[in-house]
Structure formats: structure tokens, C-alpha cells
Symmetry: C2
Subunit: 126 residues, 2 copies
């Protein structure tokens, strides 16, 4: 792929990837991709990340069914960050069972949970 040649991966071969709901604009997740993950994401039109902890490709939704269907793919000015505009299948992006991972809100020097758990993770991954 020609487009991939312009993308800049870091010295560990990774690039940050933000996923955003293509309709509401809500930021759902932040993860990393290596070249293979980005290639597969483009080919399958479904988000594939690289898990730094498990050191392997992470086919988002493989276990949970909460896949992310690609609507649009952007890169930033330096082409070292990827933005995926996606349709979140199941309406749950976070492994905690919430719609989005960004649910801790800072207020008065404390983090407050601002999003409800839609589905218990035990029922998602159990």
C-alpha cells in the first residue's frame, strides 16, 4: 500500500490510534497499531490494534463481539497519529462495559466516573 509508506511509526514500530464515533463525535478509545495492524484495519475495514501488553495483534471485538467498523481514516499533520471514525458494534468500546473508555472526569482534584456500565464485563468476556 502506497498510503502506508507516508505514515510514521515510532522507534518501536507503533503509531497511536484514536477511535471516534462517526456520528456523535464521542471519543471511544485510544490504542496503538503496528504496520500490520494498520494494514489489516484498512483491508478489513474493521479496527485491528497492536496490544503492547500481550505483544500481539488485537482484533478489536474478537472476544466481545464489539467490533469497530471503519467509516473514515485520518492521519494528523505529521502523519504519526491515526484517527478512526467508526461505528461501534454493540455500543460498547471499553473493556469495563462502558460506551467509551474516557469516563473519568476531573473535578475538584478528584476523578469522577461519568458513564454507566452498559454490560457487566463478566457477561461480555465470561
Amino acid at each position: 500500500m502506497n498510503a502506508l509508506a507516508q505514515v510514521k511509526f515510532d522507534d518501536q514500530g507503533l503509531i497511536p490510534a484514536i477511535s471516534q464515533d462517526y456520528k456523535t463525535g464521542e471519543i471511544l478509545m485510544f490504542a496503538w497499531m503496528n504496520k500490520e495492524a494498520l494494514t489489516l484495519t484498512i483491508e478489513k475495514q474493521q479496527a485491528v490494534y497492536y496490544s503492547r501488553s500481550r505483544k500481539k495483534l488485537w482484533f478489536k471485538g474478537e472476544e466481545s463481539g464489539h467490533t469497530q467498523v471503519i467509516k473514515e481514516i485520518y492521519s494528523d499533520c505529521d502523519q504519526d497519529v491515526i484517527l478512526l471514525k467508526i461505528k461501534q458494534i454493540g455500543g460498547i468500546a471499553c473493556h469495563t462495559g462502558r460506551a467509551s473508555c474516557f469516563f473519568h472526569k476531573l473535578n475538584d482534584d478528584k476523578w469522577h466516573s461519568t458513564k454507566d456500565v452498559i454490560k457487566d464485563p463478566k457477561d461480555i468476556y465470561g
Copy 2:
């Protein structure tokens, strides 16, 4: 600050930070913060990042006037990513003079520029 103790910085002492327009939901920028940058961001209610290339604090808008006024601060499930909901002063977040850094859109294996330059960078930084 108590809230800072819960935030996880990486082995280089950094945390990714996404900035998003608090009204439109448009993703404007992706940058990094160290502990001092995040502390100052909270204190000043204005975005302060850490420039990895210049190896120093980056007071966003210091040169350009395009400061980012904090409306809300979130962290993700693992508390190792920060999301700033901001008001972008001047309507330009990107150093290329565009509203947002995420203007390269992938289509048919090519990146297409999807946002106009609002102001020539020479006139912003000159």
C-alpha cells in the same frame, strides 16, 4: 494534587493527550504531557504539553496566540491517556494553520487534504 497520583505516566514520564473541541466534538490535536505539563494545565486551565522534540514544556499558543482553554478534563479506563475538552482560541489548533491537525483523509490508498488553511503559518509564527 491527589488526582495526579492516579494518573499513569509511561517509562519516559509521559502521557498521551488528545484535545477535542468542547462544542463540536472535533478532534483537534494529539500531543504528550509530563507531570509538570498536566499540573500546569489543571492549574492554569489552559493546555500545556511537553514537546518531545524540543525536550521542554510547550505552552500551547505561546507564540501563535492559539491557546486552548480547558472546559473539561477526562482520563481513560486505565488512566494512562488524557482527554481535554477545550475552547480553541483563534479557531486554529494545527501549526499548519488549519482548525485541526487531522486533515489527511485516506481514500483509495492515498491521503487527501480535507481542511483548508485558515491562516498562513508565516503569518502566525512570522
